[in-house]
């Protein structure tokens, strides 16, 4: 991406918007918020393009911006809406044989537990569990030490276990 070249930036948008959307969606769980995060990320990337030093790939640099844009929205709108990830053809009201509770009800319970994590734990858990980032990637993205990330991730998992293990998983 050449500095200041809006044509090249448009090509960058076309190349990366789907991947960025996918990342944001995994963090936010709905089309509207994910779209907002992606738009915000591209605008920020455009503004910050002169600061890009080439120390990492453009993809890594931009991924970090997307993740942070998504986390900003996640913090402002703490409810994670899960409305459209039900398997195709599944009946939302029908209990599945392998579940003790209804699919959607369980989904709500699980997402509620994630939403109820303290902010830092939630950020780190979402980046690790939903986006598959490594500890070092998370620490780089959030500007934290690896040890801090590990502690928060452990606490988040223990907390989720405490909250969810009582249900018939």
């Amino acid at each position: 991406m050449k500095r200041g070249d809006i044509g090249e930036f448009e090509a960058f948008v076309l190349d990366y918007q789907r991947k960025a959307f996918s990342t944001a969606y995994r963090t936010l769980g709905n089309v509207h918020d994910a779209r907002d995060a992606v738009q915000e990320a591209f605008v920020k990337a455009f503004k910050a393009r002169r600061d890009f030093r080439g120390e990492s790939s453009v993809t890594t640099w931009f991924h970090r911006i997307v993740v942070n844009a998504a986390l900003d929205i996640l913090r402002k709108r703490p409810r994670m809406h899960v409305v459209d990830e039900m398997p195709e053809g599944a009946d939302p009201s029908a209990p599945r044989p392998e579940d003790g509770v209804r699919w959607r009800e369980m989904k709500e319970i699980v997402m509620s537990a994630v939403n109820n994590l303290p902010e830092r734990q939630k950020d780190i858990f979402v980046l690790k569990h939903f986006n598959g980032l490594s500890i070092s990637e998370i620490s780089g993205t959030l500007g934290l030490a690896d040890g801090t990330v590990k502690v928060h991730l452990s606490r988040a998992v223990h907390r989720l276990k405490e909250e969810l293990s009582g249900y018939d998983l």
């Binding site: 076309l14 769980g29 699980v110 452990s154 989720l160």
Partner: protein, 191 residues
Amino acid sequence: MICKDVREMIPLYYYGEMESGRAGDVRDHLASCADCRDELALVGKVLERVTAPEAPELPDKFWSRSAADIMRRVRKRRFAVPLWAGVAAAVILFLFITMVDLGPEPDAVSKQILVETSFMSDIEMDDIEMALDMEGIRSDIDSLWNFQHQVSDDFDSEFAQSLDTIESSIELLFVEFEAANPRRVGTNGSV
């Protein structure tokens, strides 16, 4: 290693985020401790239930609109319109509509002015969407779209661009609405 330490480390062990030496210590402990193995199994079971939302398939039009909106915002940042200019533009637009009587109902025009002002004054999409209350949105859409095309024909200007943004916003609301209510929306978009 004692059970308490191992249980603390189980989340990192589960994610494969331990240094190899420590991971080996945990593995050795697990081999000889049924309680900690149960704990690992429980953590695994819980985490398997916490699945990431998978993005739905979206139409090509969504992506072209999205890219267009991003580029519009990027260009707008370079040539930001001050609030007074946005309001003035909205007033001129209102006068134009009133004088040439292009057709949209007064309510739609009022909303149009509201969202136009919001857009021109750099207020985010959310606020535009809030301005279009969900109750009446469907009846306004045709008016807005027809209106956009009429204006687009006559004006190759910021007005047409901002109306395009509104159309995109409405379209997004449809996508969301359909995603949230798959059983209530027919293939032709009817509810």
